[in-house]
Subunit: 348 residues, 2 copies
């Protein structure tokens, strides 16, 4: 028998948000703590446990938690660890599932990266309900992705599949990317990428733009959005440029997995037709004829404030890694879990 609730935890660079979620995808209660308050990971887990237990007790849910799902940057589904996170203080390999399950006296825990969690949330509660093949693209500070094939998240042989922010969109003279290479999708189509495009356009072009009234090094994608909405031509062209690159990249993704939909999530996705119109035009123009018209480009249906917790919680229903003892802990590094145990996030 399933218990009626799961816990969803979303570990972000600034905040860690958590909530109790029921089988219908209602967030019964939620709260958050500051992610970087503790340099010591055990102290962080202790505060997280305390915060969660507070809302669990307030809802009389002590014996009603089926599992805990966690979305974290570079979270690895197979090992339950966070590996080399770019933006967290606790070292290169963080035994997340093990420590959290231990703190909760053996409640099963499952871990994945934040974009995969978003895809699971969308499949369980959002725009991808009923879809067996779709791709979730998160357009935030970076570009993340979660890929679902045949009803299952694509983890790859090592748990790190789905890095579509790092496909190469400019093979010559591409922008330097945070990953150390050049020409990645993320270097152009993230919020940061939009700001970089603005700086590039302002430097290379000569036409007037209200963006010239700002300090060039401080321009954000929000500035560009506001200028575009107010009618600034150059700002609008920046969105056209961004959307076109995205649409071309999406056409290649369809050649891989022929998804029913590509679902956009995150700050930039809220730019509306400024981004979507050129994106869809480039997508339709670039796609292989056999796929034309078959893949929708749509927006996430999850409320942004709930989405991170919902997505992570979807993983909690079939979480299997329990803390038992240091010896029995099957999620120890080097002991990847049997692949057949992959949950399908039915949300039951």
């Amino acid at each position: 028998m399933s218990k009626p609730y799961v816990i969803g935890i979303d570990i972000g660079g600034t905040n860690t948000v958590f909530g109790i979620v029921d089988a219908r995808g209602h967030v019964v209660a939620s709260d958050s703590i500051k992610t970087k308050k503790h340099v010591n990971f055990d102290d962080y887990v202790a505060e997280l446990h305390e915060g969660i237990m507070r809302i669990v007790k307030a809802n009389e849910a002590e014996d009603k938690i089926q599992g805990i799902g966690i979305g974290a940057p570079n979270g690895n589904y197979y090992t339950g660890e966070i590996i080399n996170p770019p933006n967290l203080p606790w070292g290169p390999v963080i035994p997340l599932a093990q420590k959290v399950s231990k703190a909760f006296d053996g409640i099963p825990v499952a871990v994945t990266n934040d974009a995969n969690a978003a895809a699971l949330g969308e499949m369980t509660y959002g725009a991808a309900r009923g879809m067996k093949d779709f791709i979730m693209i998160t357009l935030g500070t970076g570009v993340g992705s979660g890929i679902v094939v045949n009803g299952q998240l694509v983890y790859g042989h090592d748990g790190f599949a789905g890095e579509l922010g790092h496909v190469i969109v400019k093979r010559n003279n591409g922008r330097i990317c945070g990953c150390g290479r050049t020409g990645c999708l993320e270097a152009y189509c993230s919020a940061t990428g939009v700001a970089r495009t603005a700086r590039e356009f302002l430097e290379v072009r000569t036409e007037p733009s209200t963006l010239r009234n700002l300090q060039i090094e401080d321009i954000t994608s929000k500035d560009v959005y506001e200028a575009a909405i107010a009618g600034d031509k150059m700002a609008q062209e920046i969105f056209t440029y961004t959307g076109t690159i995205l649409g071309e990249a999406f056409a290649d993704m369809v050649a891989f997995s022929s998804p029913q939909a590509i679902i956009l999530f995150g700050g930039l996705a809220k730019s509306g037709d400024l981004l979507l119109k050129p994106l869809k035009e480039a997508f339709d123009k670039s796609i292989l004829p056999i796929f034309r018209g078959g893949t929708k480009v749509i927006l996430s249906e999850l409320k942004e404030s709930d989405a991170a917790v919902l997505g992570a919680s979807a993983l909690g229903w079939e979480a299997k890694f329990k803390y038992e003892s240091p010896v029995a802990a099957s999620f120890d590094r080097g002991l990847p879990v049997e692949r057949d145990e992959q949950p399908t996030a039915t949300g039951k």
Copy 2:
């Protein structure tokens, strides 16, 4: 109870090869017919049936056939049809599974495209045994692909996933491709692509090459291979150019599904280090650091003469579409089969 044999059929533009295969992947008997002898599809199926029954009877296997697997260009797994084949005479939509199952009195039939069949063969009998995540790349006249994720072929929502020959490798001034677009991987890295590169190099460059002794419009990839083996610098550079583009494209594929291996099959794959050395160099250099060293690039282990039949036959073990009556035929166009029925090609 499974029966001891399956039939594998590979429909090529010139020959249709078929064979009886046992559970260990031995081709018990095989034969072939000319694909284009009959303009009428029913006549083709009749000759195919006759040819297969001849070897079935010779091996006393009349009641021992579990199923029939067919690999065909543009073969669709969900509908059992061939859709818009570039190189077959029988019309835009060919009800392959239906007609073949009917000819064999209701033996179950499954259909997929040729590259997917190759991937199944490799997983069941070849270099991918035991792998749950790999990509098969066929380097022939074109570039085909079969993608396996989590032990299952990736068909996508429409059955046409895995067209990696048509990801874009040159976004500006790319070569025209047979698909009608420009810059596709296939336009550079197929046998035809190698010949096109040779013509391009001969026209644009001035250095001597033994390739200049040939009629430029008649040069084939085999000519380039032989010249390169004999020490011709330009011919060697053509392979370096081809391998580099492949290696860069493979790096993007890894960002998608993080496979354990990318497996090369087909004529060009036999070029050895001429192709593989620059390919692996470009691959290692282009891959996202988190994936470095995780994905092997290896050659198919299937005997080329058997591979097509073996691959198709692997699909026969779990074939489910039976011809019963025109009304009950579940593979009729517009009635895609339930996705849960996807076989996993365990070969049992």
